[in-house]
Amino acid sequence: MMADKQPKIAIKGLHKQFGKKIVLNGLDLEVPDGQSVVIIGGSGTGKSVLIKNILGLLSPEKGSILIDNQDVVGMNRAERESILQKVGILFQNAALFDSLQVWENVAFGLIEGRGMKRKQGHEIAIDKLADVGLGPDIGSLFPSELSGGMRKRVGLARAIAADPEIIFFDEPTTGLDPIMGDVINDLIVDRVRHLGATTLTITHDMASARKIADKIAMIYKGKIIWAGPVSDIDNSGNDFVDQFINGRADGPIQMDVRAG
């Protein structure tokens, strides 16, 4: 357990399976208020499923997810709306709405979700685009006209548009070259510090994890098998963590090289 005081997010005994495949197997995790926790782990270990359960996009079979001490499992839509108002998300491929201009994407949650006037939403969107290093001219483009790095930046601008208390980052550097990945990492650190938000990031990019994290947790077979400060990651004393952060094929983690 990592928390000294009331955690912002507390997950206890989370269990999720699809058919006979168990993805989350009694997962426990605490994300302290104002801290950045990064979950590392290989592909298919349940990282994305964990975030989707926290957001209510999937329903767990067992366990609890407390956000600000409120259990979000089994909440009705109205109750969940109030939780989602505190949250921003950067999706893996940004998940920008193709039919809307960039500024409309950034201001979407403000205009459609909170009923803000379009003019005011436009002004905020241009400010948020500036925060992630994009000029106002980008605001009138469509997502299909942007590069991968620009899409991530727009996704980040959308995630921080409503000044959320909690931000989730789903593989923020996946698909980017190392330099652009580092630019995104810097932007995340800078904006999160500026907002004072609590963040939960999932990634298998160790460079990103080291840069973003206050604390790191490793997920394996649906459970957190190690958690600790980022400074301890190289001396974790855990063979699974050592194998993962050093990217070795040999070790206790055996990858399924055949389907099924």
């Binding site: 989707k52 957001l55 996009l57 989602l84 920008l96 193709d98 979407f108």
Partner: protein, 257 residues
Amino acid sequence: MNPLASIGRTTISFFNTIGRISLFTCRAVFHCFVPPVYGRLLVRQLIEIGYYSLPVVGLTAIFTGMVLALQSYTGFVRFNAEGAVASVVVLSITRELAPVLAGLMVSGRIGAAMAAEIGTMSVTEQIDALTTLSTNPFKYLVAPRLIAGVLMLPLLVLVADIIGVCGGYIVSVYKLGFNPTVYLERTWDILEPLDVVSGLVKAAVFGFLISLMGCYHGYHSRGGAQGVGAATTNAVVSASVLILAFNYIITELFFAI
């Protein structure tokens, strides 16, 4: 392979699908009547379904009317009943051909587009993004399309009725030598309000089915480009089959002796 197990799996899968479509329909209809209504999206769908479908529906209607006049003439002339051509054209067009053919054409154009657009949104996490941005995907994506489908198909069919009858008139008068005044009189005399109304009711139902199938298959598409392709095909095929089935049911309700 055990044939009984195979039949069992197919049966369970069938009822599972029926249940999912029923739940989807209930949620979709509920959100059509509960605010907020996204006016900009509704207008966009009205234009997309109504205005942009006019050329394809118009062309289908005029050629159908022309062929109908020609075929009925060549058949009726053997019994000296060529005077019935105007009646056959107008009743066939308004009661059956305009709604069914317009429905099938719009299904190919709009149902496929809806499934592809919503399916792409589903597989690229855009629908998840909508939810996390405090926007109900049913209200934002499904309700405007359902409302637009129900409103625009009857208007398209009304236009198709007029164009189809004009097609029959053109062939009858300019190719087959019918008297224009007599042809129009016979068209008008035989036509009852119920003939047009039944076609419009069919059109509204078909519009609902096209939008519902497009949204349902798009919403549940999985597995990247292949999944979106399958959703598009399923949307068009299921909407087309349902249009033909409901065409019979509605005809039975209106005209059963």
